[in-house]
């Protein structure tokens, strides 16, 4: 479904991705782990076309989207819960969610809202609070909720559990499993490698912009190298 081939991405002169090839198949949960600054976020953002890959190709559902504009890429059915949450601080919670479903009809928006509200009751309670004043964790829920609004084919999650309470973290991974069952493909970046690998079908390990390991989630969980570097064993 999503395919990156020999992608190189730069920020100005700084190279952040070096010859990365990654594949995500339909209906899979794929996770990406790696140390701080390895380029995980960059990889997700390259899929979205910002920054664009300087060389190599990114294709989605068989079509080359390497040079496409960000908004056209996203309208193909990709949604992202980005690093740093990036909720619209002065819009209310409800408005933020509606922004997520910008291109949907009003019926679908209502359904989407209802769905997100059942996942995160706190958001319903605070539907009219300005997003910027929500607590860190609440904003994280909002960012995930907003991404779910579009009913994406491919969901990109960049550290979705950052700043969440343990109880909610468990819940988030449950959600990831459920939506996969509903047919959504998930591409997940996590520091919490342990849990991420448990839900993931497959995983990639990124080190300073390069893919150094690729295997099934279960295999990576028991891989010595991974255990040492990322699982804290």
């Amino acid at each position: 479904m999503l395919k990156l081939q020999n992608v190189h991405t730069y920020y100005g002169a700084i190279q952040a991705l070096n010859d990365v090839s990654v594949e995500v198949n339909k209906g899979e949960i794929v996770t990406l782990i790696g140390a701080n600054g390895a380029g995980k976020t960059t990889l997700l953002m390259t899929v979205c076309g910002s920054p664009r890959a300087r060389s190599g190709t990114v294709s989605f559902e068989g079509e080359d989207i390497t040079q496409a504009q960000t908004h056209t890429i996203m309208r193909r059915g990709i949604a992202i819960s980005p690093e740093g949450r990036r909720v619209f601080p002065d819009l209310t919670v409800a408005e933020n969610l509606k922004m997520g479903g910008f291109f949907l009809g009003s019926r679908e928006i209502e359904e989407g809202l209802a769905h997100v509200y059942t996942l995160f009751p706190r958001l319903k309670e605070r539907a009219n609070q300005r997003a910027g004043t929500m607590s860190g964790g609440e904003q994280q829920m909002l960012a995930i909720g907003r991404a779910l609004m579009t009913k994406p084919k491919l969901l990109l999650l960049d550290e979705p559990t950052l700043g969440l309470a343990p109880l909610i973290i468990t819940q988030i991974f449950d959600i990831i499993r459920t939506i996969r069952e509903q047919g959504v493909t998930v591409f997940l970046v996590e520091q919490n490698a342990n849990k991420a690998l448990q839900v993931a079908d497959r995983g990639y390990v990124l080190e300073t912009g390069k893919v150094v390991l690729a295997d099934t989630g279960a295999n990576l969980l028991v891989n010595d190298q991974v255990r040492q570097a990322y699982l804290g064993a």
Binding site: M74, F88, D90, L91
Partner: protein
Amino acid sequence: MSELIPQLTQQLFNGLSLGAIYALIAIGYTMVYGIIGMINFAHGEIYMIGAYVGLVTLSAIGVNSGLPLPMIILIMLVIAVLVTGVYGYAIEKVAYAPLRGGPRLVPLISAIGMSIFLQNWVAIGQGARDMAVPALVTGSVQFQLGSDFVITAPYSRIMIIVVTVLLMIALTLFIKYSRMGRASRACSQDLHMANLLGIDTNRIISFTFIIGAMLAAVGGVLIALAIGKLNPFIGFLAGIKAFTAAVLGGIGSIPGAMLGGVLLGLAETFAAAYISSQYKDIVAFGLLVFILLFRPTGLLGKPEVEKV
């Protein structure tokens, strides 16, 4: 002093109509600001161009064409709005869009440059001296309040007040409740994120500029009709005043721009009436400073609580 009340009423009307003028321009200002967080110093010039286009249209029609008056005004407005819409679009594309994402002050300087450019563009095209606009809308509502002081409310001024209020309401509703309005607010807060939601942010920005320019044009035409004098440099002062009004009301807030404009108009009028014309601008700016000291984000601006 039985004349005091009617006088006050007259001044109140004067203040309101002046305020409405400021507000009409300020709304456009605040809208553009609200979306891309940029002080568009060339906005006043768009207003000026709108006025010129109105005059050109009027001259083309001819004052004695036999068309009914509302029809003439409508044609003037429509053409002015269309032309300035194009101006707004082109200016944004040429002078601002290439600078997006750079340092914040760069577009500000570009806007100042654009403002100088446009003033002289018109000065060269249509001449730098004053143009007179024929008094099209004449007559006034007159009434007396007890004494023999006649309170006069010219139709041309009433028209401005009415149009401003209507536009403000329409625009507030639009921004607040429409999909497009919500999208433009989102763009103002995080352009990149809006982009990541599949929204063509360039379109939204162009759109905002076009709307802003159109509003300015409406202001230009109506004010030209009411005042009767134009020159290529009227936009600058009007722009500064409107900017002040927008800030006073809280940048980004449309009712705020209206409120700020009216307040500024009233302050100037009453200062001129009861202190001295000489000091009216000092009073106006003084008021601005004073209010901002107590409401650092303007009257209706959202308080800038930053969650830490």
